[in-house]
C-alpha cells in the first residue's frame, strides 16, 4: 500500500501549525501590544454516561432492521424531531413489543452458541430501566424463524402475559407470565398460526382452512382451543398475516389480498361482522383474483395501521395485478371502519412498505420505505419531516 499521510495526521499537523502561530502571537503581546479580550473559561473535564430514556413516548416509533440485509437491532426515532434516540441489540428474525406503559421492551429472539450453529437458545429478552438496559431473559421452548411478521409475538392488553408463536415441531403458542418471568404453558394450535390476543388471557389464531382458532384459559390456567366457522376463502383470497388488531377492544380487522375487510370482535365466541371492500369504499369495483385485473390493492410488508380512538384504518395501496400483496404502496388510504367510507387518499413521497399511526390526541402517521421514514400528520396527511433509516422489518409505535 502506498503510504500517504492519514487524514488524522494531517489534521494534527495543521493544529501544530496553529499552536506555533499562537506561540508567535503570544510573543508579540509580551512585547507591548494590547492584550486580547477576556479568554473563555477552560472547559471542564467530563464523565461518560448514558442519556436517560423515559420510555417510548407518544410520538416515538420503534422499528427493527430487516434480517439478512441489516443484521437485526431495534431503533427508536422521535417523530417530533425525526432523530434517532435509542437502539437495542437483537438477533436476526427477532420480534419485539413494548409493555403498556412503554417503559419495558420485550425482544423475542434466537441465538446459536457458535453464531450460525451449535446449541440453540430461544429467549424473550427484557430491556428497560432508566437507560433501556438489559434486564435479563426468559428462556422460551421455541419460536418460529421467519421473515418479519408482527403477529408472531404479542402481549395481553394489560401486559401481564406474553404470547410467542412457535412452529417447530408443531404450531403452538407459548404463554408467558411476564412479571413472574416464566413460561406457563404451550398451547397447540394444529393447522393454525400467529397470535391475536383478546381479553385478560385469551388469544386467537388464523387457520389454514379459513377459520379461527380461539384459545382461552379457565381459572386454573388451562387452555381450551376451539375452531370457529370458516369466514374467508383461503385458496383464492386469504386474509393477510399483517392484518390489524386492537388487543384492548378485541377488534381484529382481517384484510384479504383483494381488499375485503373482515371485522371480527375476538372473544371466546367471536362476533363476525359483515365484510366490506376497500375498493368499493372508494367507489370502485371490488378487486378480484382474476388474471389481468389491474386495480388498487392493499400491499406491503406492514400495510395496515389502525387508530382505535377515531376508528381510522390506514392502508398502503398500489395499483397492481392479483397476488401482488407485497408490492409497496404509492398511496395511503384512510378509511372509517364504522361508516366503511374512504376519507382520504394521500400520496407518499416514495413507495412505502410499512405504515404505523400513534394513538395519542395529535396522532402522527409514519410511512417507511426501504431507506426513508416520513412523518406525517395523521389528520391532514401533510408530510412534516423525514429521515434516512436502515431497511425496516417491523414497527411498533408509542401510544399503542
Amino acid at each position: 500500500m502506498k503510504k500517504t499521510a492519514h487524514p488524522a495526521s494531517r489534521a494534527a499537523g495543521a493544529a501544530l501549525s496553529l499552536l506555533i502561530g499562537a506561540g508567535l502571537g503570544a510573543t508579540a503581546w509580551a512585547s507591548g501590544q494590547a492584550p486580547p479580550a477576556k479568554s473563555p473559561p477552560v472547559l471542564q473535564s467530563e464523565t461518560a454516561g448514558v442519556t436517560p430514556f423515559a420510555g417510548l413516548s407518544a410520538h416515538q416509533i420503534s422499528y427493527s432492521a430487516l434480517d439478512g440485509l441489516e443484521g437485526g437491532g431495534v431503533r427508536v426515532i422521535d417523530g417530533d424531531t425525526a432523530r434517532l434516540v435509542a437502539s437495542v441489540y437483537s438477533s436476526q428474525y427477532a420480534n419485539f413489543e413494548w409493555s403498556p406503559d412503554h417503559r419495558t421492551l420485550y425482544v423475542s429472539e434466537t441465538y446459536w452458541a457458535l453464531g450460525n450453529r451449535g446449541k440453540r437458545e430461544d429467549v424473550l429478552s427484557i430491556y428497560g430501566g432508566p437507560t433501556l438496559s438489559n434486564q435479563g431473559e426468559i428462556p422460551l421452548p421455541g419460536r418460529l424463524i421467519s421473515d418479519p411478521k408482527t403477529h408472531t409475538f404479542a402481549l395481553s392488553a394489560d401486559g401481564h402475559y406474553g404470547y410467542v408463536y412457535s412452529f417447530q415441531p408443531a404450531p403452538a403458542v407459548s404463554v408467558i407470565d411476564l412479571p413472574a418471568r416464566k413460561v406457563l404453558t404451550s398451547v397447540e394450535i394444529p393447522g393454525c398460526g400467529l397470535v391475536f390476543p383478546f381479553g385478560p388471557r385469551g388469544f386467537a389464531s388464523l387457520c389454514a382452512d379459513g377459520s379461527l382458532a380461539v384459545a382461552d384459559a379457565n381459572a386454573q390456567g388451562q387452555y381450551k382451543v376451539r375452531r370457529t366457522k370458516r369466514f374467508f376463502d383461503v385458496m383464492n383470497d386469504p386474509v393477510m398475516d399483517e392484518s390489524a388488531a386492537d388487543e384492548r377492544s378485541g377488534l381484529a380487522l382481517f384484510v384479504t389480498y383483494d381488499g375485503w375487510v373482515h371485522p371480527v370482535h375476538l372473544a371466546d365466541t367471536p362476533r363476525f361482522g359483515k365484510p366490506w371492500s376497500i375498493e368499493q369504499a372508494a367507489g370502485m369495483s371490488p378487486a378480484t383474483s382474476q388474471v389481468g385485473q389491474i386495480t388498487w390493492r392493499p400491499g406491503g410488508q406492514v400495510p395496515f395501521a389502525y387508530e382505535p380512538s377515531r376508528h381510522r384504518l390506514f392502508v398502503l395501496m398500489h395499483e397492481g395485478a392479483p397476488w401482488t400483496f407485497e408490492e409497496p404502496g404509492s398511496e395511503i388510504w384512510v378509511l372509517d371502519v364504522r361508516t366503511r367510507a374512504l376519507l382520504h387518499r394521500w400520496a407518499v413521497p416514495q413507495s412505502a412498505y410499512l405504515v404505523a399511526v400513534t394513538a395519542d390526541a395529535h396522532p402522527l402517521l409514519f410511512a417507511l420505505s426501504q431507506q426513508w421514514l416520513w412523518v406525517m400528520n395523521a389528520q391532514s396527511g401533510t408530510v412534516q419531516r423525514a429521515t434516512q433509516i436502515v431497511t425496516p422489518g417491523l414497527v411498533r409505535v408509542g401510544g399503542e
Binding site: T110, N116, D147, G193, P238, A321, F325
Partner: protein, 178 residues
C-alpha cells in the same frame, strides 16, 4: 387393572416383533425409511396444490421466460422470495458450495410458458453461510400467508440442516401439476 382386547393385541404384536427382529434390524429399517423420505413426494400437499393449479396462466406467467435462471422472471420462480442460488455459486436445483439444502420446502405451482403446463415446484432453501444477497427476488404468485406454511415463502425453510442461517433459495421441479 382390567386389560382391553386392544392392549392384548398390542402386546402380542410387540412380542412377536421383538422375537423376530433384532434392535439393529429395526433401527436399520427405520433409518432406511428416513433416508428415503425425501424421495417420496409430499403427496397431500402436492395434491392440494395440484387441484389449485392455475389453468389459463397467471399474471406472472404472462411475463415469464425459460432461458435465464438468474433473472427473477424465470418461469420456475413464480413464488420465490429471496436470493437466487443460481447467482450465488449454485443452480436452480443445487446449493452453492459451503451451504446445505434443507430437506423441507414449500410447494408452489408455476406455468412453463413453452408448453403452458403447470408444474409443481419445491422451493428449497440452502442454509449455513451468511445471506448471499445477490439476485434478490420477491415473487408472490399464489403464495399463501404464514398460517398456511406449506405454501408460504416467509418461513425460513432451514429445518433439518445444521444451521438456520439462510443463504439462498432454489426452485426444484417436482413434476406436472395437472
Amino acid at each position: 387393572m382390567r386389560r382391553s382386547e386392544l392392549d392384548n393385541w398390542g402386546e402380542r404384536l410387540t412380542r412377536r416383533l421383538a422375537g423376530r427382529l433384532s434392535r439393529r434390524s429395526m433401527l436399520s429399517r427405520l433409518g432406511a425409511l428416513l433416508v428415503a423420505a425425501p424421495a417420496f413426494p409430499l403427496l397431500p400437499v402436492q395434491r392440494a396444490r395440484a387441484a389449485d393449479a392455475p389453468a389459463a396462466g397467471t399474471d406472472f406467467s404472462r411475463n415469464a421466460q425459460t432461458h435465464d435462471d438468474t433473472a427473477c422472471n424465470y418461469w420456475r420462480y413464480c413464488g420465490i422470495d429471496g436470493n437466487l442460488c443460481s447467482c450465488c455459486g449454485g443452480g436452480v436445483h443445487s446449493c452453492p458450495p459451503g451451504s446445505q439444502p434443507s430437506p423441507t420446502s414449500w410447494i408452489g405451482s408455476c406455468i412453463n410458458p413453452d408448453d403452458q403446463r403447470a408444474y409443481l415446484i419445491a422451493y428449497r432453501d440452502c442454509c449455513g453461510p451468511n445471506e448471499c444477497n445477490k439476485c434478490s427476488c420477491l415473487n408472490t404468485d399464489h403464495a399463501m400467508p404464514i398460517y398456511r406454511p406449506q405454501a408460504n415463502n416467509h418461513v425460513i425453510w432451514c429445518f433439518g440442516t445444521n444451521s438456520f442461517e439462510y443463504h439462498c433459495s432454489m426452485a426444484v421441479l417436482v413434476g406436472l401439476a395437472q
